[in-house]
Symmetry: C2
Subunit: 175 residues, 2 copies
């Protein structure tokens, strides 16, 4: 892979924000950092550190576990990546807040599928509720756990099959 293709699937906005942060903090550009950022933002998938390491193993990108932890923390500090609460025990990261700064998560308890959604009424309501209680809202985190209607109706659903194949989110739950 040629150097100039590192950021091929990543949009300019992300690259610029990273560069700006790195510059502003007196940090340095490194191969591992650039490759990890590329890997993270070339997909809109949520991930855990372990899943990110798995992705790396499947490619020619090499970075130690410690570096992965450190880079992810750096991106969280830079507000490019966000920790989200999917009801799991391990920390899950969401790379989509840069494109959609305001969104929420619905997690299907049947298949583990995560649906991101936005709603203006919800935002407005959160705002009103906070002010009514004497606070100024800064940030909110809403997770809806729900059952798949399709599954109940037909006994199966595309997400369930997909989930079984990829084991997406099904393991790792607290025993």
């Amino acid at each position: 892979m040629k150097f100039l293709e590192y950021f091929s699937e990543m949009n300019d906005f992300i690259r610029q924000k990273l560069d700006a942060y790195v510059a502003s903090q007196g940090l340095r550009q490194t191969k591992q950092r650039n490759e990890l950022v590329e890997k993270i933002f070339s997909s809109s998938e949520h991930f855990t550190i372990e899943e990110l390491l798995d992705r790396l193993r499947k490619t020619d990108i090499k970075a130690s576990r410690a570096t992965v932890y450190r880079t992810v923390k750096l991106l969280v500090d830079a507000e490019m990546l966000f920790e989200i609460d999917l009801g799991e025990d391990v920390t899950t990261y969401d790379p989509n807040f840069m494109e959609n700064p305001v969104h929420n998560h619905l997690v299907c308890v049947d298949c583990g599928k995560v649906v991101e959604f936005e709603d203006n009424h919800l935002e407005l309501l959160n705002d009103c509720l906070s002010r009514r209680m004497g606070f100024r809202p800064v940030k909110k985190s809403l997770r809806i756990e729900a059952c798949c209607e399709k599954l109940r109706a037909s006994g199966t659903c595309a997400n369930l099959i997909q989930a079984r194949v990829t084991q997406k989110r099904l393991p790792n739950r607290k025993k």
Copy 2:
């Protein structure tokens, strides 16, 4: 303390639910279990395992760390106690869902104060949103992080002072 006073500050509903669960699962009544349950439900405070252990140390109740973990897990399984997400790293437990099955949390980023609130519009909206996406809502978790308006206006607030004294929620945050 006399045996019959164990549940003095706990309401009958909680005692009965515990008894029912213990009986239904073939579990046993033990001194440690009863005392821990009393300690947990005689207050409406959220707590971490460490805070619960601190509470125990200040009284004549004795239970090992392992027993505390096991008892708390038992209560969560019995749906008498709930894990909540306050944005901390350590698991926080909320004993108030039995009295208020539907409530949300607002956390003040200035003083760490946690405010519980209910809102019908919010519940309705969550319900509609889930169905619109093809799911049946099961459970939701909303956390609002907010700034204290009083603090901004006057430079101080009662909660901040309280928080400083009790160190309530201020430590333990991810660095």
